[in-house]
Amino acid sequence: MTVDTKKDQLLTIAGKTYQSRLLVGTGKYKDMAETKSAIEMSGAEIVTVAVRRTNIGQNADEPNLLDVISPDKYTILPNTAGCYTAKDAVRTCRLARELLNGHDLVKLEVLGDQKTLYPDVTETLSAAETLINDGFKVMVYTTDDPLIAKRLEDMGCVAVMPLGAPIGSGLGIRNPYNIRMILENAKVPILVDAGVGTASDASIAMELGCDGVLMNTAIAAAKDPVLMARAMRFAVESGRDAYVAGRMPRKLYASASSPMDGLII
């Protein structure tokens, strides 16, 4: 028997379609070889990178990330991680666009403080406006506030990415009801970004109806990152299929699975 996967639509972000609904980061891996293996195993097509100063001469032989994760093969999604003001985030995006030969899809994140890495929403709104006016296609990391998510969509962000829990915390989807409220109102893809700790967290996000999940630490900080990348690939696929299939209704009492007719007693 073949599964009718045509019932489901592909993920489309800024006019481009993707087979995979799992987006992965490239941070915190042991080395480039592990980065490459884990990302390949995850099946992800959109891969986030950070923009940082090159070192001045030293370690010149170290492989460049984009030699390993080629922009010809993957959609590179530069982020603004580490930015605490709209100005710094906009500056980083402009550098990323130059770096990637005009590629204008970016992940905007403006952080509020180092302890929580929680999004600074007012700075995020300000940066999003500047970037959109400057022609960027903005995938925006934000809180799980349904009103802010809608506002970011209305401004023209191509995807809204509420957190499940703080970045790198692995606490899972802390407020599924808010994610559902965001989904109900959304006309752009909604992706859970941050907070996933293990495969079931990714499935929960997808079962809620999210269009995708973005994660980094859950894979990179696993004891076996490559195996966890595989687990996450299947978790996102399973969660999505379950969402599209539609779960059975919950009931308080039992409902026998075997027929009552033909019992020997």
């Binding site: 990178v49 950070a50 001045i56 460049n64 984009l66 922009p71 500056r91």
Partner: protein, 67 residues
């Protein structure tokens, strides 16, 4: 020689050196990078003609692992 600031460090480079020469000095040839001079991005196509001046503040960035 002139002094310029590159990624927060002081670097001495010959007068009239261009951004292309700086990139070569930093072993960046063939890699994907972007350069800002005094907070303005200089497009890669202009690097061969773009001469550096004393006290220019330069940022040279590349993509690295991140989430």
């Amino acid at each position: 020689m002139i002094k310029i600031h590159v990624n927060g460090d002081i670097l001495e480079i010959s007068e009239n050196a261009t951004l292309s020469e700086l990139a070569k000095h930093m072993s960046l040839e063939g890699k994907l990078y972007a350069i800002e001079v005094n907070e303005d991005i200089v497009p890669r196509s202009e690097h061969p003609q773009f001469s550096l001046n004393e006290n220019d503040i330069i940022e040279v960035v590349q993509a690295i692992g991140g989430g």
